[in-house]
Amino acid sequence: MPSYVIREKCDGCKGQDRTACMYICPNDLMVLDMDGSAGYGEMKAYNRDPQMCWECMCCVKLCPQQAMDVRGYADFVPMNASATPLRGTEDIMWTVKFRDGSIKRFKFPTRTTPEGSADPLGGFATHDDINNQALATEPASLGLDAVPTPS
């Protein structure tokens, strides 16, 4: 079914400036049923087209209520398995639950710098010559004295 919303936990991101899952879904699938008129419950989010879900879990990772998860595609994944992320500012923890009940946990780093801090020029020396083959931070960012040219 791909991504799904746990009715009890979803609060429609009320009190926040936007619905996280709806904001982030790369395929524009998540919708908030504001007044319940779509039949999903008032202020509850839902996936409007599970068949188009890539299972990228961008919504699951961003949900502030942990109200979302993914159930493997019903047409080829045997039931009762899951991979659940818990994403922080510098790493992500995964809990993989197998059909046979066994569990594996993994933790992987996600980035080495504080969120928002990426300096587009990376602190490398820049130059002003728009006619040169060298891009803004080159050749410094190449670690070379000059951009390679055909021999």
Partner: protein, 627 residues
């Protein structure tokens, strides 16, 4: 007509798309724009933190040359791509990307991407060109740099605006039109130069899974061919539209095999245990010289596996247990080191999936797979259009000025349409760019587009009457639905229109059955392609009969039309090339051999906006002297 406000946005440079190549363009162009008082606008169909092919993340960087440490030369990369594409590549473009790509990777690292390093502080290679990363947040980091660059230069980012097509002034691209996927607004973007860096195309061919797993494509389902549609509509020349890509991946979940093949040195076998790369080695002579050199091109590796499948020897398996055992054997005398190594391998294997194809982790968990105990099934996916990877489809672009080639008519990466630049999946015949190379190509074009604006930029002459005409056509699916929805009891079954999903199924059926999809075992022929074109003609006639009840469905309707155009260019170019050059991607059964005397060339196509006719042509391949 549906009541949509028209919003006009003017800038000097317009960047369409916000994946890796577009973010590269925004990052570099902003630097030069700020110096020259120019304005850059980037438009994204989704939210830039998680848009494009790398939305989920990646577990490796696939293009790093390593020039500074003397690991490889730029020329080595040119040889590698020439070989993998069976001789057909724009070596000037490949060279240009390869000489800049290391700086992109070094920037990524500064921005916060964690690249694996060994004890000596050197990058850990997965293969000769591939680096291992902890890439869950890869796209977020790259988007962050682009957004910071835009903000610093006074640029703007529009999220959730879907670009449909170009605005032209004769042969000059002067902007683009599209609509918000969130509110009733039609957008007219005007610019002195435009960079198209939207995605390749998925769901042109019917996927293997057609139920709930319909969305489980290897490349993302939201890549609908915006790039190819845009350049085709602009009247720009296209190249290699026949060169689709078919990855062989873990079956159904489409999880990556790179770490298993390259890092763990795993073998793949048929059900009866034969290693198809060994059993069918003689076949490689038929594809000389490419079949006889290393590494063996991806399409030929696919093809040897497909020979086993065709012979009824499937399923194919990745020998994960054997590979892990082999590595473990190296530690057999040291139980403590053995345990540590096994733990490390297990974590690496699972991260490979969890970073970029979570579905595969769920599938393995659902099948109780322990890779160290049992092998896992692999299979060829459905075909995709991805000029940034091992496919090659895209626009025919001008090459770098300091290389002596016949491909120079404008600024680097400019298409044959004036002021329109193409990067990433939008530019053709420069395969094996992957994430880092696509970003690099974006940077190259970002700088070149600003240079173009400074030297040749003109105020965009936009015919607003024409834009209003486009608005009417683009919103037509909404009008059609409103007009006829109540005539029958079921709004989805209507004699006046069809819904976008059904239109998509119709396109996929044609492509799958006539143009060499999964169910026809990737085989086609002149007769099949001609019949496919006949059916495409009816499809095209019905394309303005799609109905939409929401902005979401309106997006789907236009994504389908974009797919339909790349599909037609694909069929026409396969028909034009009367040989089989990339078996394993597609096989033309009536011309089953490679014909270097007649077809070692680029096959280009152009849709002529004035006549509405398709023009096909051969272009010579320039090879780098001494390489």
């Amino acid at each position: 007509m549906a009541d949509f406000k028209t919003v006009e946005v003017s800038s000097d440079l317009l960047i369409i798309g916000a994946g890796f190549s577009a973010c590269g363009a925004a990052t570099e162009a902003s630097y030069w724009a700020k110096k020259n008082g120019l304005k850059v606008v980037m438009v994204d169909k989704a939210a830039t933190d998680r848009s494009g092919a790398v939305a989920m993340g990646l577990s490796a960087i696939n293009q790093y040359v390593g020039v500074k440490d003397g690991e490889n030369t730029v020329e080595d990369y040119v040889r590698y791509v020439r070989q993998d594409l069976m001789g057909v590549s724009r070596e000037d473009l490949v060279y240009n990307i390869a000489r800049h790509v290391d700086s992109t990777v070094h920037l990524f690292e500064k921005w916060g991407l964690k690249i694996w390093k060994d004890e000596a502080g050197k990058y850990v290679h997965e293969g000769r060109w591939q680096l291992m990363i902890n890439g869950e947040s890869y796209k977020i980091i790259i988007a962050e740099a682009a957004k910071n660059a835009l903000a610093d230069a006074g640029g703007e980012l529009y999220e959730r605006v879907f670009i449909v097509g170009p605005l032209m002034d004769g042969n000059r691209c002067v902007g683009a039109v599209g609509f918000s996927t969130r509110e009733n607004q039609f957008y007219v973007f005007k610019a002195k130069a435009v960079i198209i860096g939207a995605g390749g195309a998925v769901h042109v061919f019917r996927p293997r899974s057609v139920g709930e797993g319909f969305g489980r494509s290897w490349y993302p389902p939201f890549n609908s061919g915006t790039s190819a549609y845009f350049t085709l509509q602009a009247g720009a020349e296209m190249t290699c539209q026949e060169v689709r890509f078919i990855p062989v991946r873990f079956k159904d979940g489409y999880g990556p095999v790179g770490a298993w093949f390259l890092l763990f040195q795993s073998r793949a076998i048929s059900a009866v245990g034969g290693d198809y790369m060994v059993e069918h080695v003689d076949e490689l002579e038929n594809w000389a010289p490419y079949g006889l050199a290393k590494p063996i091109p991806a399409n030929l590796r696919n093809y040897l596996g497909m020979m086993d499948v065709d012979a009824g020897l499937g399923p194919l398996y990745m020998e994960t247990d054997e590979a892990i055992q082999k590595i473990a054997n190296e530690y057999k005398d040291d139980p403590k080191a053995f345990k540590k190594k096994m733990k490390e391998l297990e974590s690496e294997a699972w991260e490979d999936f969890l970073d970029m194809t979570i579905s595969q982790a769920i599938l393995w968990a659902g099948l109780n797979v322990k890779p160290d105990e049992k092998h896992s099934e692999i299979a060829a996916c459905e075909p995709y259009f991805i000029g940034s990877h091992s496919g090659a489809s895209g626009a025919w672009v001008s090459g770098p000025e300091d290389l002596d080639t016949p491909y120079k008519w404008g600024y680097t990466n400019m298409t044959t349409a004036e002021g329109l630049f193409a990067v990433g999946d939008a530019s053709g015949a420069s395969s094996h760019k992957f994430s880092s190379g696509s970003h690099t190509e974006g940077r190259i074009a970002g700088k070149q587009a600003i240079k173009y604006i400074l030297e040749k930029g003109k105020e965009p002459n936009v015919d607003m009457a024409k834009a209003e005409e486009m608005k009417k056509a683009i919103l037509n699916p909404l009008d059609l639905f409103e007009q006829y929805k109540d005539e029958f009891t079921d709004p989805e079954v209507n004699t006046h229109y069809i819904m976008p999903r059904q239109f998509l199924h119709r396109l996929q059926k044609i492509m799958d059955e006539y143009a060499g999809g999964v169910t026809s075992a990737f085989k086609t022929s002149k007769a099949l392609l001609e019949r496919g074109l006949e059916l495409m003609e009816y499809l095209r006639e019905d394309s303005d009969k799609q109905a939409a009840r929401s902005l979401h469905e309106l997006t789907r309707a236009w994504e389908n039309i974009q797919r339909m155009w790349i599909a037609e260019s694909h069929i026409r170019t396969m028909l034009f090339r009367e040989e089989t050059r990339w078996p394993g991607y597609y096989f033309r059964a009536d011309t089953p051999k490679m014909d270097n005397d007649n077809w070692l060339c680029f096959c280009n196509c152009r849709w002529n906006p004035d006549s509405g006719e398709w023009e096909m042509s051969k272009k010579d391949i320039w090879t780098m002297p001494g390489v």
